[in-house]
């Protein structure tokens, strides 16, 4: 058995889990990095982040510090990458920060992942996707071990199964919002796009215990060559207007075109930074970060992870500089082989365990979901509603098969991918339906090996999923 690094501890004799600690040696370097700025004008210094991560976090959320390699959410060990620590800080403080935003009168709106959130913030709301909603709810439970936390989460989900159906995958946050753990004011995702379940999950809120308090709205995403249809763009723009009007009813203010135009600029900056970071990351001979940090970093460009686009931007700006430096210096990332098999993940909402993937000699270098929206910039001239609608209807992930495949192949080439995984969850109908189609087309265009893997919904079979990923790595290596 390998020696346990000095920053790994055990919290008590009865607790067999190993816990991660941020090592003191990196403290000085870290506290010299940038502050995080927030939307309400407040900031936290790196020193405050450090203190939180080393003193508050381990007590409040021991589950998050669980150091098992079987834990998909394990904190990244790349402790010299400032982004990584700040990103962890923002995740851990979700509950406090969102409670504060709510107290400041900002409506909390449930949205779906992989969609732009510009109009929600333009109207003064906070947009939370399913994972962020879950992280807010979980943040209220302190002192749990990972097993306890996972049990609680499973029992939360069970509430949605009971109230809706056991085939529910995306319950639109029903188990948190209707149970009152997350005081959302609205459930207002874009429909259809990407997910088969979110519209039905939204509808289910109409019979929940908080049905009268929570406003429901669907921003209707038209399908089939929508990008090329003027009437589809106008329809979606009308839906966006309806959304901001609806949030205005909660805030009592009026969202102007200028508000939206300003917000689009801000979110475009996030999207641009993420694209630049991706180009840098992919251009490097050696992976400049581990797979987990890469994913969080790219994802942040969507400005939807932490409920605060300004905070996301401040992390992205700093990370852009750091990645550039790492690439220039030929940084070697701990745990990642120099010749790791480069994998690209297609499909929705399932990810292999990055750490175990790296242990097996691979690294995940890209994904299509939660990326196609980020790579789509919004034109900043003209009617902002129309331009936003035009951009959203152009998401490559939502285009007819050949176009979606064409864009995916582009990403695969840029990221110098060796193998493609298409993953989907058990209850996911729309993505699973075209899994074979997409991989067949990718194979036809690139000749790269592909594999389709289905994950179970409760994540009780992650070992099986990982085994298949690992054999795939062996095959493509």
């Amino acid at each position: 058995m390998s020696a346990v690094p000095q920053y790994i501890t055990r919290s008590s004799v009865s607790d067999t889990a190993e816990y991660f600690r941020y090592p003191d040696e990196v403290r000085e370097q870290f506290i010299a990095t940038d502050d995080i700025e927030f939307r309400d004008g407040s900031r936290v210094t790196s020193l405050e982040v450090w203190d939180y991560l080393t003193q508050v976090g381990p007590v409040k959320y021991p589950n998050l510090y669980d150091n098992s390699s079987l834990y998909t959410g394990r904190l990244s060990h790349d402790v010299t990458f400032a982004f990584n620590l700040k990103n962890a800080y923002l995740s851990m403080t979700m509950h406090e920060r969102m409670t504060k935003a709510k107290a400041q009168g900002r409506p909390i709106v449930f949205v779906q992942g992989g969609q732009s959130v510009d109009p929600y913030y333009a109207a003064g709301a906070v947009a939370l996707r399913p994972a962020s909603t879950g992280s807010w709810a979980r943040g209220q439970r302190e002192g749990l071990t990972r097993n306890q936390d996972e049990l609680e989460s499973r029992s939360d989900k069970q509430k949605a199964y009971n109230a809706i159906s056991f085939e529910v995958c995306n319950s639109a946050g029903y188990e948190h919002i209707q149970e009152g753990n997350v005081p959302a004011d609205m459930v207002a995702p874009y429909t259809a796009l990407r997910c088969s379940d979110v519209s039905y999950g939204t509808e289910a809120h109409r019979h929940g215990p908080r049905a009268k308090e929570v406003k429901l709205l669907l921003v209707d995403y038209p399908l089939d060559h929508q990008r090329d249809k003027e009437w589809a763009i106008r329809y979606f723009a009308d839906n966006l207007h309806r959304l901001t009007r609806s949030i205005d009813e909660q805030t009592g203010r009026k969202t102007t075109d200028d508000d939206l135009a300003r917000e689009i600029k801000l979110h475009n900056e996030g999207r641009r930074l993420a694209i630049e970071i991706a180009d840098l990351w992919w251009s490097a001979d050696l992976a400049p970060t581990n797979g987990r940090d890469r994913r969080s970093l790219f994802l942040l460009g969507g400005m939807e992870t932490h409920g605060d686009p300004v905070a996301s931007l401040s992390l992205l700006r700093e990370a852009r500089r750091d990645i550039e430096k790492r690439v220039r210096q030929g940084h070697r990332t701990e745990g990642v082989l120099d010749n790791a098999a480069r994998l690209f993940v297609c499909g929705s909402c399932v990810f292999p365990n990055d750490l175990r993937t790296e242990e097996a000699g691979g690294i995940i270098v890209g994904n299509d979901n939660h990326w196609s929206d980020i790579t789509t910039l919004v034109n900043e001239d003209g009617d902002p509603y129309y331009e936003l609608a035009r951009a959203v209807l152009s998401y490559p992930y939502e285009q007819p098969l050949k176009e979606r495949a064409g864009w995916t192949v582009d990403q695969i080439r840029k990221s110098r991918t060796d193998g493609v995984l298409f993953l989907y969850k058990w209850g996911c109908n729309t993505q699973s339906a075209i899994a074979r189609l997409l991989v067949d087309e990718i194979k036809a265009q690139t000749g790269i090996p592909t594999i389709i893997i289905e994950d179970d919904m409760t994540r009780t079979q992650t070992e099986q999923l990982q085994n298949r990923v690992n054999s795939f790595i062996e095959m493509v290596s």
């Binding site: 259809a192 509808e203 669907l218 089939d224 109908n429 074979r436 289905e454």
Partner: protein, 395 residues
């Protein structure tokens, strides 16, 4: 007493495949379609032959389809993909163009799969999810116009107001006849059973629509002659079952035969393969805008979410139909992975329970493996409904 028109419908169904082959040999074009909100009127108006595609009940077809689309898709769409893969079904073989709509996202995906793997010319009609909004009607009218322009290019015919008006009149006649025939199956000692009416409705998926209207009118005339006006009702202790939920396409006889075997009587449905598409259709004018609005104003399909329970027309219509057909129990049939209806099962059950109407959810697929399990559950349910009916009568 036998119904001659009914016999004739069955006979014409057997003859229809050959007829289509001949029609195509003479230059006619067939539009095969699978959709929930596609105004067939426009296909017919352009001189094209509309044929509704799809069948159920065949586990092998589901297997074959599952090789192209995922096993996490409902068996109906898997089976549809299987039909294209096998390419032996006469309606699939004889479809020159294939059309789908985007009411259900799984149908939308089916269109992509069919286009990619089976090299078919596919047209898709976009359908708005916020169907109750004015802007959704505008969008849908534009989609329909786009759809028609593609059909015009294929048929070489321009859709004029007269052509559309004629077609709308024909389809109004069909809808009206179905709505008038339907109650006869729910009467005491009926001259026609629900199962037969169901067959009659589904015969209209493929028969020539003008001939079909004639057949419906003959059938109605016979029913009127034999029974006069329909008086809905039955024996006092009867289990009168209403069927709701996912589609039951031609060929899917599992639930129907179990019901027949157990002596439970189906007296009504709000299925999209049954009565529901034919009620509430009010086309105000012979224009595509009016047609689009009329389709969106129907009782909504389960795949179109509606966010306010109190004003949901699907629930309202369900309750009305249960009352009209004097049903005393509901079987809510959901196909595995049919999210549009599965997600609503619990809610529908709770609502009907408050009204004192028991509901049994049957979650099934086309494989025969759950036949016994379903039989046992249906048997217990039918028995319970009968007992309730008896005790209500005694009280």
């Amino acid at each position: 007493m036998a119904l001659n028109a009914l016999e004739l419908i069955y006979k014409r169904l057997r003859e229809r495949p050959q007829e289509l082959v001949e029609a195509r040999a003479n230059g006619a074009k067939v539009v095969g379609f699978q959709a929930y909100n596609l105004p067939e009127e426009v296909i017919y108006a352009l001189g094209l032959i509309p044929v509704r595609l799809g069948s159920g009940g065949d586990g092998d077809l589901v297997e074959v389809g599952g090789r192209y689309i995922s096993t996490k898709n409902c068996v109906y769409v898997r089976s549809t993909v299987g039909l294209f893969a096998e390419n032996t079904d006469p309606y699939i073989v004889n479809s020159d163009i294939v059309a789908f709509d985007a009411t259900c996202l799984q149908t939308f995906r089916t269109a992509e799969v069919v286009q990619y793997y089976f090299n078919r010319e596919v047209i898709i009609l976009g359908v708005p999810r916020n169907f109750y909004l004015q802007e959704a009607h505008t969008y849908f009218a534009a989609e329909l116009r786009h759809f028609v322009s593609r059909l015009e290019a294929i048929s070489g015919v321009t859709l004029t107001r007269e052509r559309l008006a004629d077609s709308i009149a024909l389809y109004n006649g069909i809808r009206d006849a179905i709505v008038r025939i339907y109650p006869y199956q729910a009467t005491k000692n009926p001259a026609i059973s629900w199962e037969q009416v169901f067959d009659v409705i589904q015969a209209g998926y493929v028969l020539d629509r003008r001939e079909y209207l004639g057949l419906l009118e003959s059938l109605l005339a016979e029913l009127v002659q034999q029974r006069g006006a329909p008086v809905i009702g039955g024996e006092d202790d009867e289990a009168r079952i209403f069927i709701s939920g996912s589609t039951i396409p031609p060929g899917d006889k599992k639930l129907i035969s179990i019901m027949q075997e157990l002596g439970g009587r189906i007296v009504g449905d709000d299925l999209w393969s049954g009565l529901i598409p034919y009620v509430d259709v009010q086309i105000e004018d012979a224009t595509l805008e009016a047609l689009a609005s009329a389709y969106l104003n129907r009782t909504p399909h389960g795949a179109l979410p509606y966010l306010e329970l109190a004003t949901d027309r699907r629930i309202k219509r369900l309750k009305e139909l249960i009352t009209t057909f004097k049903a005393n129990g509901v079987i809510y049939h959901t196909l595995r992975y049919c999210d549009p209806y599965t997600f609503k099962a619990k809610e529908t059950k709770d609502i009907l329970e408050k009204e004192g109407i028991p509901l049994l959810e049957l979650h099934t697929e086309y494989a025969g493996s759950d036949f016994e399990a379903i039989r046992t559950r249906v048997e217990a349910f039918v028995e319970m409904v009968k007992l309730r009916a008896e005790s209500e009568e005694a009280a």
